[in-house]
Symmetry: C2
Subunit: 393 residues, 2 copies
């Protein structure tokens, strides 16, 4: 009596046991029974299955009030590996990680997304195989591939949809191409969503509500609510770049409107202002570095970009009341002036209740945010109800 | 064998059975076993407990391929009642509902929140008792009281916190006062959160992401994500009123900043502009009604307020990509011009992907939105894991 069945593929309890143990704390069978609400017999059988698969290991003995201490079990993140790829406008970064986000091998190189899907995905395959060879793990340990791209992605199919800065990629079958090489599930998401997920996973796992802002060629936000990436109805949430800046100049934007944040404060906007002031194209790439040399134009343009970003983020803070706002992306790294200007406006413009405990910080995962998020996306998927069974074979 | 225990007060499965059946579909024991993942013996015992409490009734026979059709069970929303109160800046609206949001009795009267907690809560108690008498149900059927107030509320304690338009209410123990009268749990929330919950419950239950905007003495938003009210870190989410309007006039706001939406487009702002144009204070209360008479100033001021609201909501849509934006509050009711002006700006300013399937609509629950949301808040609480046991005695 009492054996339960679910309509999903996996026996009930596998993913809920793993979901609990992913916090790293070893637990006894009795604790798992109490925490999941499943029957003792169910838990015993699920623990055996997961031990056999290598996803669980024997943990230390639990403390006990007397008698033989009960056996405990712990999640084994190192038991499987994930291939993660971050396709930027001008870079390709890849990593092999385990299911806990530990990076086992990684590589970053210059690459133009505008070369199109055929060339770029061929390079992703080649570099992925190199990295997998580097970690010397049997290919069957690879459970999935996670990919971030700098544009909107249709969540269900993993295909980019009308991506403005990815010529040739509209509707590209990224999952199909990579699955043919790696023979695993392939998940694709917008890079900013992944940066938010990566930063949250590694540095703010205790926080429910976080906004990650990427300031680079484009400007966008990844939103974490209740600890998960928030996507909205069409997966378009976080489109900060085309919000009109309160009090901003009515500069024309590529989207057809005027006064969008991206038209005022992105890398391209700062570059245009730099050149318009008669400075050299050579220097334009290193505006944030020039601040340290006391270059007043570099300081002024950075401060103005920060204030425009802060004006839009003040609205974001009023609307979402997050615990943490993380400023990342290539323009924000090693650029304390930008973050100071942003903070200054947010703290002035948003109500006291929303900013009282608000942390506004630079990214701590830096250029690894997106690959970490891609790794997390794959781990969440393969350890879920729908997919866990494939890891038990 | 196999009986499970949880650390929470209620036996496992009670709230998950109810959560399933709240959709109104009767289900058999076998279906409940399959859908909850609980053991057959657990489900059988839980169904018996819930039948005995009156929260479940026998449903129709399920269809079957042969033999005796299995018995089914359905949620009985009429088995318990809730008292709901909506305290506005200038009104008090109260209702008795069942657990399904059916209104059994209601009353609305003029009342000034500025009279302070002692006077207002005394009136809430008196009117609540009248309404409960009116529905002729035994007092033991009352499971809770839900209250909405026009200001920020500390979620855990149910006390208002620095509410700008509620003089004398800072920290007022609303739950304590009302629990002394009604001897049930009392839950309090910001009225806009409740309006969003009420509108979502009754009209958009199939939608995950919805924004409800209240345009009245104040301007604020209630945000539904993943089908639930989103509150943010300090419960301050949805503070639309103090976002700076892109391209708006730099009018001073009560918050100390300039150019806030509330300073430009609230009832008070429209009233000030009306009086400044030399029109009478008497007419100022009915600006939206005057549009129908062809009054060009009424039309112009409404259109301008709508455009300012739309400018801020365009940013909200870009950030959250909701499925539905509902415009409610006293200034928006029977005011299609306001809603048209708002829609016009959102559709122009937000990117096509975010507005492609977006519905921008007037409120359908109207002046009942907040009491319905208050009722929903109480039903969710009393049917939850933590509280369900109190309904079984």
């Amino acid at each position: 009596m009492g054996e339960t069945r679910r309509s999903t593929a996996a026996p009930a309890g596998l993913s809920s046991v793993l979901a609990l143990l992913r916090d790293g704390v070893p637990r006894s069978r009795a604790e798992l029974v109490e925490l999941t609400g499943h029957a003792r017999s169910t838990i015993a059988q699920r623990v055996d299955l997961l031990l056999k698969s290598g996803l669980l290991t024997h943990g230390g003995a639990a403390s006990s009030t007397g008698g033989r201490p009960p056996e405990t079990f712990a999640f084994a993140p190192a038991s499987r590996i994930v291939l993660a790829a971050d396709l930027g406008a001008a870079h390709l970064q890849m990593a092999v990680t385990d299911l806990g986000g530990t990076i086992l091998a990684q590589r970053r190189e210059v690459a133009a997304i505008s070369d199109g899907p055929e060339a770029v995905l061929a390079r992703v395959c080649a570099l992925g195989i190199e990295l997998l060879d580097e970690v010397s793990r049997p290919r069957r340990d690879l459970v999935g591939v996670g990919v971030g791209v700098p544009g909107p992605v249709e969540h269900e199919t993993g295909r980019p949809r009308n991506p403005p800065i990815m010529p040739g990629w509209d509707g590209a079958d990224i999952p199909g191409v990579l699955a043919a090489s790696f023979r695993t599930p392939v998940l694709v998401d917008n890079d900013v969503n992944l940066m938010a997920a990566g930063e949250h996973w590694r540095l703010y796992a205790d926080v429910d509500d976080l906004v990650f802002v990427k300031v680079a060629t484009g400007i966008g936000a990844g939103i974490i609510t209740a600890g998960r990436v928030y996507r909205g109805a069409q997966g378009a949430a976080g489109d900060l770049g085309h919000i009109a800046v309160p009090g901003g100049e009515p500069v024309a934007c590529t989207c057809g409107n005027t006064g969008c944040l991206e038209a005022l404060a992105s890398r391209g906007a700062v570059r245009r202002a730099w050149l318009a002031a008669g400075r050299s194209a050579e220097e334009a790439g290193g505006v944030s570095a020039l601040i340290a040399t006391g270059d007043t134009l570099a300081l002024d343009l950075t401060w103005r970009a920060g204030r425009d970003i802060g004006s839009v983020l003040a609205g974001t803070v009023s609307l979402l009341n997050p615990s943490v706002v993380v400023i990342g992306g290539s323009m924000a790294m090693d650029n304390p002036v930008l973050i100071e200007a942003i903070s200054d406006v947010i703290l002035t413009r948003s109500l006291a209740l929303a900013t009282r405990d608000l942390r506004i910080v630079g990214t701590g995962t830096g250029s690894q945010a997106a690959v970490l998020g891609a790794s997390r996306m794959v781990a969440d998927h393969v350890l879920s109800d729908e997919a866990i069974e494939s890891l038990l074979a």
